[in-house]
């Protein structure tokens, strides 16, 4: 019997736990020739901003060992073009869509949430906290529990009550649990982690930074251990909060690792650049791995690595 792969983000049921990570699946159209995006648990859009954004200059990308540095700078057409051109395409095809939003101030995040809240086809909102806060000298919201909590709370208030709000956390923080708690206190129904940690590469031939922006977000298998750690710590502290684990997933084994650490859903990101069919492949592999291990339901594997160690079990039973 195949395992029951259904999962929940707050009250919203997804038929399977595989999502695309923000900025790694375009707006669906680009992946459509290679894979049926409606079969994924959900598609997460690139971060949508209020105004159109041209992004960063090129070079925007550098390949690093088992990873990729990028500094795209949230290039996008802005919320109005997204609502008229891109969201309807997804809605027509029945693609469950998590809309990632980003702003430079709390008010901008709230305004984005208001514009999206009654748009047909939005499954959930994801708050990209790794945006610089223009009202705080450009410090990203994700680094400060009170700023993160304030943004989430503003989005929660602006969005319709039955539209789940997901906070996307950065690993570049001293205490990810403190940020996670602040977001849940602010009203986040689910947490997504991890966003790209910031890294840098220098081109030794040109003897200059490899990216025009200098630094960029690191993604790919190189960051998977960071993702596992963050998911583990947050699930231990907030076992009732659904966590979408992401960061370097390329196979079903990677997805299972995040599930065992406490994720009830898994995002695939950079691997889609390598293989646009990867989301479906990871789902099939995860299904097989759960079945091999005798699981009837995905939910039974979530956070299972946290159970007391086997030796303790035996000691208890023998006494």
């Amino acid at each position: 019997m195949p395992a029951d792969m259904r999962t929940y983000l707050a009250h919203v049921e997804l038929p399977n736990p595989i999502l695309t990570a923000s900025g790694c699946a375009g707006t669906g159209r680009e992946l459509a020739p290679f894979a049926d995006v409606a079969r994924l648990g959900a598609l997460t859009t690139p971060t949508i901003t209020m105004s159109p954004r041209a992004g960063r200059p090129t070079p925007r990308m550098a390949e690093t060992p088992s990873g990729l540095l990028n500094a795209v700078g949230l290039q996008g057409p802005g919320i109005d073009a997204f609502l008229t051109r891109e969201l309807p395409w997804l809605a027509e095809r029945g693609v469950r869509t998590v809309v990632s939003i980003g702003g430079g101030s709390v008010a901008e995040f709230a305004a984005l949430a208001r514009k999206l809240t009654d748009a047909p086809g939005v499954t959930a909102l994801e708050v990209n906290l790794s945006c610089p806060n223009v009202e705080d000298r450009g410090r990203v919201f994700a680094r400060d529990p009170s700023a993160a909590g304030e943004v989430v709370s503003a989005v929660r208030t602006a969005a319709r009550y039955d539209l789940p709000v997901i906070a996307k956390l950065s690993p570049d923080v001293a205490d990810v649990v403190a940020i996670a708690k602040a977001c849940v206190d602010g009203g986040a129904e689910a947490l997504a982690m991890i966003n790209n940690p910031v890294g840098m590469a220098i081109d030794v031939d040109r003897m200059r930074p490899a990216l025009a922006a200098g630094t960029g977000g690191l993604s790919g298998p190189a960051i998977k251990p960071l993702a596992v750690k963050c998911v583990w710590q947050v699930h231990a502290a907030l076992p009732g909060t659904p966590v979408i684990g992401m960061g370097g997933v390329v196979s079903g084994r990677d997805a299972l690792e995040l599930v065992l650490a406490g994720a009830c859903a898994v995002g695939v990101g950079t691997v889609l650049f390598h293989d646009p069919y990867a989301g479906h492949r990871v789902l099939r592999e995860l299904e097989e791995l759960l079945q091999e291990r005798g699981f009837d339901r995905l939910a039974d594997a979530v956070g299972l690595a946290h159970r007391p160690s086997h030796r303790n079990d035996r000691e208890e039973s023998s006494l």
Partner: protein
């Protein structure tokens, strides 16, 4: 749909050397069927457990009907990915996606076409030359490189075209200098109606400037670093002026790689032009 790309596991048929370059022929019928000149393909390198995640993009040198359809790629070893590719042998599997991008527009009526290529960027021009000749177009070539062994396809160009002008930086073959230096004279001699150009961004910018001066249309195929080739990674953007006159950071992989030369803001490549759609501060200025 003729243009819709597919992902296939192709089989390497042959590996050979052409001058200083590697040429790889892969059996990939789905891609060969849909191919039009100017399209490119991407290859996953490093095998199933690879640590190099970005796909490598290549122009297609040739498409043949053998074994249901083959494509030939030309490349030079530049890093770990292309070194892995150069080590492939006949019968090895290869993950290919294609055909990708916007192909070269072909003139409706017979015209005199000048094809300009620099180094192995010229590989993409030969399939174009075939199609142009089938349409009764006159084809001339200008091919250039740093030295004689790096001029790609000189022999084939000489055989198939009305004229083939070769240039090398070191003077070891043909005219000493770059393709741009000989361009005005060749355009005059061949009465070119249209120019097609492949090569590095700087060369394309100078070719476009010459064509603008002489008032003839030029189609350029740009080379910009890309991670995916299918329009999702947003890293291969180039400032391009749209039909509405607005400059946008445009993806070379899905909206290019072929653009009308005068639409590409070559001097602004590597920057965000201040007047680009969504440039920083643009919303405040309005």
């Amino acid at each position: 749909m003729a243009g819709s790309p597919v992902q296939v596991t192709g089989t390497v048929l042959t590996m050979r050397r052409i001058d200083a370059y590697h040429a790889m022929t892969v059996v990939a019928p789905g891609i060969a069927d849909r191919f039009r000149p100017g399209h490119f393909v991407t290859v996953a390198v490093g095998g199933p457990r690879t640590s190099t995640l970005t796909r490598r993009a290549f122009a297609v040198h040739d498409v043949k009907p053998d074994y249901g359809g083959t494509v030939e790629l030309v490349f030079t070893v530049r890093g770990a990915g292309t070194a892995w590719l150069a080590d492939r042998r006949a019968r090895d599997p290869l993950d290919l996606i294609g055909p990708l991008g916007r192909p070269f527009p072909i003139p409706r009526d017979p015209a005199s076409c000048l094809l300009v290529g620099s180094e192995y960027g010229a590989a993409g021009l030969f399939a174009l030359a075939d199609v142009l000749q089938q349409r009764n177009c006159r084809v001339d070539f200008v091919l250039g490189a740093a030295s004689s062994d790096r001029v790609f396809g000189a022999l084939r160009a000489r055989r198939m075209a009305e004229t083939a002008t070769l240039t090398t930086r070191d003077g070891s073959l043909g005219v000493q200098g770059s393709v741009v230096d000989v361009l005005p004279a060749v355009i005059a001699d061949t009465h070119a109606d249209v120019v097609y150009a492949c090569g590095p961004m700087a060369t394309l910018g100078r070719v476009t400037a010459v064509c603008a001066e002489l008032d003839i249309p030029v189609q350029v195929s740009v080379e910009e670093m890309m991670a995916c080739g299918i329009g999702i990674c947003m890293t291969c953007t180039v400032p391009v002026i749209g039909d509405d006159g607005v400059t946008r950071m445009t993806r070379a992989c899905v909206d290019g790689p072929v653009f009308r030369g005068e639409r590409v803001r070559f001097d602004d490549v590597g920057t965000i032009p201040f007047d680009a759609h969504g440039a920083p501060g643009g919303d405040r200025a309005r």
